[in-house]
């Protein structure tokens, strides 16, 4: 995996059209003396949906949080469409807060616990960053936000406050909020894990639509059905390392490693067609 990533990095300067939207190279991260990520490499081409699977504690969420520098990695590099994240060109000087903010604004993120801002209405949550980060005109942003609300099926909740919404509705608003920034890349951090089982479907449906429309996505999930049907590629993570990278059909039907087989056995009932 690392080798392949390095090869793509080498290509990037010569062929911009094939340049991956996200390139993670040899990423390492420790908390205290616990190594959470140990040389992870991932590459996501434009328009592709990559699912990160793995047992709890395998480093999936940390990997995602490193991509937009919510966690600062110890080693390794992250490239967004060829531009280094978190570090200035040259690789020695960390980005300033405003440089970091500019690159983060190009990456959308959807969190497990939604993290909608409680003091703003549904519309307010969606238009806040386009207006105050990107400084786009308010009328234009509102019109676009209303289209996004139609897309996630929540037009009638436009003026409601997050506290009044169900978990599934909150998460759909959070997706609309991320999309309002027109991100190059969208990260989903266990977006359905905090939801009641009957609400998972409505969120997955929105995510499947996005994947079908060609949104570039990295999805950390335990929803094997989604991974099998909607992902273009599966990255299987265990103990902070990429153990397997494969097409969904291959990963689910002919996993190459013992650890992936064990992992899949535990989820078997969830993803096999009933």
């Amino acid at each position: 995996m690392t080798d392949r990533s390095d090869a793509i990095v080498a290509e990037e300067s010569t062929d911009v059209s094939k340049q991956p939207v996200l390139e993670v190279v040899n990423l390492c991260k420790s908390f205290a003396d616990h190594q959470v990520l140990d040389g992870v490499g991932v590459s996501v081409a434009k328009g592709k949906a990559v699912c990160i699977l793995g047992p709890s504690g395998s480093g999936k969420s940390t990997l995602l949080r490193c991509v937009n520098w919510l966690e600062k990695p110890d080693h390794g590099s992250i490239f967004l469409s060829g531009q280094r994240v978190g570090v200035r060109p040259g690789g020695a000087i960390p980005m300033s807060a405003s440089e970091l903010a500019q690159i983060r604004a190009r990456i959308g993120m959807v969190f497990q616990h939604f993290n909608l801002w409680p003091h703003l209405s549904v519309l307010g949550n969606i238009i806040e960053a386009p207006i105050h980060v990107k400084r786009r005109p308010r009328d234009e942003v509102i019109a676009e936000a209303e289209q996004l609300l139609d897309k996630v099926g929540l037009r009638d909740k436009r003026d409601a406050y997050p506290a009044r919404l169900s978990g599934g509705q909150r998460q759909r608003v959070a997706i609309a909020r991320a999309l309002a920034m027109r991100p190059e890349l969208l990260l989903f951090d266990e977006a359905t894990s905090a939801l009641d089982p009957e609400l998972v479907g409505e969120v997955l449906a929105v995510m499947e639509d996005l994947a079908r429309e060609g949104m570039t996505m990295v999805v950390v999930t335990h929803e094997m059905g989604f991974a099998r049907d909607a992902a273009d590629e599966i990255v299987f993570l265990d103990h902070g390392r990429v153990v397997e990278t494969a097409q969904p059909e291959q990963f689910f039907d002919r996993p190459q490693t013992e650890r992936a087989r064990q992992f899949l056995q535990r989820f078997e009932r969830e993803w096999r067609p009933k």
Binding site: N68, A97, Q102, R104, G108, L116, E128, V133, A163
Partner: protein, 218 residues
């Protein structure tokens, strides 16, 4: 005694003038203390010790100083070091220094209880610096602190009474001068207490309205 109240009633314009000045002091001191307190909270929550420490000293210091003494120092003491303020400016300065310290500490407390995820989400869409604080952090911590901030405003109302000693013509000053002229201490002071009470009830009602607004936004 009825006679006493009749005398006070005859001079109600003086009391109402004092009340109007008290209301003015409270409104200005509250507004400025909220602004300075919001800035103070950022210092109290700063990553940098060099910023945080002095702010903590100021807050801890103000908590141990009787307001009356602070007002004395600002009005009578500062001229010694070359800072000469008139009684209104000195009174307002003392109120704002004193209460912004409390408000800074109240907001810092609410901030430390703000779920980390709201700030993660704000960072993730590209917020940073003072826009992040003003748009994403400050509103929910103010909403969370509405009841405590309401108590602080009532404290400001009561502390304005001390400004009588530096001759600010506020409500207590008016009551005191009526009683001194006509020797009607009971009626004059009871009338002032009643007006303070009405003022505090007014603040409580406003806080109640804001509190209902805040509830939907938590």
């Amino acid at each position: 005694m009825n006679n006493e109240f009749a005398i006070v009633w005859a001079h109600k314009d003086r009391l109402l003038f004092g009340l109007a000045n008290t209301v003015g002091l409270v409104v200005i001191a509250t507004a400025l203390s909220l602004v300075v307190g919001a800035l103070m909270a950022t210092a109290l929550a700063s990553q940098s010790r060099a910023v945080r420490r002095p702010a903590q000293w100021l807050v801890d210091g103000m908590r141990c100083v009787p307001f009356l003494l602070l007002a004395y120092i600002v009005y009578y003491g500062l001229p010694t070091v070359g800072i000469r303020l008139n009684n209104w400016t000195a009174g307002l300065t003392a109120l704002v220094i004193y209460h912004s310290s409390y408000i800074g500490e109240i907001l810092r407390g609410a901030w430390s209880n703000l779920p980390r995820g709201y700030i993660d989400a704000a960072h993730a869409v590209g917020f940073h610096g003072q826009v992040l604080y003003r748009r994403i952090i400050l509103p929910p911590i103010v909403y969370a602190a509405v009841p405590v901030l309401g108590n602080q405003v009532i404290q400001i109302i009561k502390d304005t009474a001390f400004l009588m000693i530096i001759a600010v013509p506020e409500l207590t000053h008016a009551a005191s001068s009526i009683q001194a002229t006509y020797y009607v201490p009971f009626a004059a002071f009871v009338a002032a207490v009643a007006l303070y009470w009405i003022l505090c009830r007014g603040v409580e009602m406003v806080v109640g309205v804001i509190e209902r607004r805040a509830e939907a936004r938590r």
